[in-house]
Symmetry: C2
Subunit: 190 residues, 2 copies
């Protein structure tokens, strides 16, 4: 039995390694998953994580444990993805400044023909930011590969007044929930 991470995210890989998963195989989903339209953020991340898991499971043994996840930042009724430009990163951070947004992660575990799809939500409160610190932060390059244009673990931590929920969910993988999902399949991480 191997644990397969169906994601190219280096942060998710690091988190599983932090939990002591040493025999981890990384097989990122290659297809562009199609987001369902007109659904809420929970349904969206659950559907996308399930699609990733299904795609990667085809390339795995039935006895492998496949873990897939999809994370979005949700603010004022909109999905904030990775910024496409310096200007877009600045605008996202200005919009998050002094306000509380939500982070949703869908997690799918496939094992032995069982499929478990769940979602986790955390709230993140930013302190008030000024234009100068936003620009300096964007110039570090940290925001460009991250949904919402910040990393909760990194210099972005200077902006985060508080988390309400699972911190690791904000990094892309809700570890407490994932541990329970794996326990349910008889796969213990302790």
């Amino acid at each position: 039995m191997s644990i397969v991470l169906a994601s190219a995210s280096p942060r998710r890989k690091e988190l599983l390694e932090m939990l002591g998963v040493t025999d981890l195989k990384v097989i990122p989903a290659t297809g562009e998953e199609v987001a369902p339209e007109g659904v809420g953020p929970e349904e969206l991340v659950m559907a996308l994580s399930a699609a990733k898991a299904a795609e990667v499971a085809k390339r795995c043994d039935r006895g492998d444990v496949v873990i897939a996840a999809d994370t979005i930042v949700w603010h004022h009724g909109k999905v904030y993805g990775k910024p496409h430009s310096r200007q877009e990163a600045i605008e996202m951070l200005e919009s998050l400044s002094g306000d509380t947004h939500q982070v949703f992660t869908g997690v799918t575990v496939m094992y032995n023909g069982h499929l478990d799809i769940q979602s986790e939500m955390s709230r993140v409160s930013f302190r008030q930011l000024n234009r100068q610190e936003i620009e300096r932060y964007v110039d570090t390059g940290e925001p460009m590969d991250k949904a919402g244009a910040y990393g909760a673990q990194g210099k972005g931590s200077l902006f985060v007044r508080g988390i309400y929920g699972d911190f690791f969910n904000v990094m892309g993988l809700p570890l407490c929930r994932l541990g329970e999902m794996l326990n349910k399949q008889g796969v213990g991480l302790l």
Copy 2:
């Protein structure tokens, strides 16, 4: 100007390095700070962090920025320190299981004759744990050098359902608050 960390904690050092502090000097306080009696958790950690900063500042230049911190776990009106034995670690974790406790960190910044002492509180909610997973966790050795017998970043993350406040406070250094304290002294981390 150097930034001096008045703490032997490897986690605090890692957090400052994560923020890009490259010229960090580590000078742990050597004296056994005496905890004031009959005070609440906030006053306790503020007093202890100030005592550490004062002791280390004597060995620094006036132009150095000295950062000291003291962290405790507070549950049912008692301070939970580092466990002294396997049995004590098990008892602490049984007491934290399925309940919410508080983590207090006092932070002191000394610079150029200015002294700033603050405290930060985060709540941590544990899911319900069973005896077997508590024993397995204690056997990993992770709890033994940590207040409250767990690490929020490590396998202990499997127990933490949610944080309410600054996650890094639970690791021993509230980064958002520290950043603001340093900004006030004209020391920018961005």
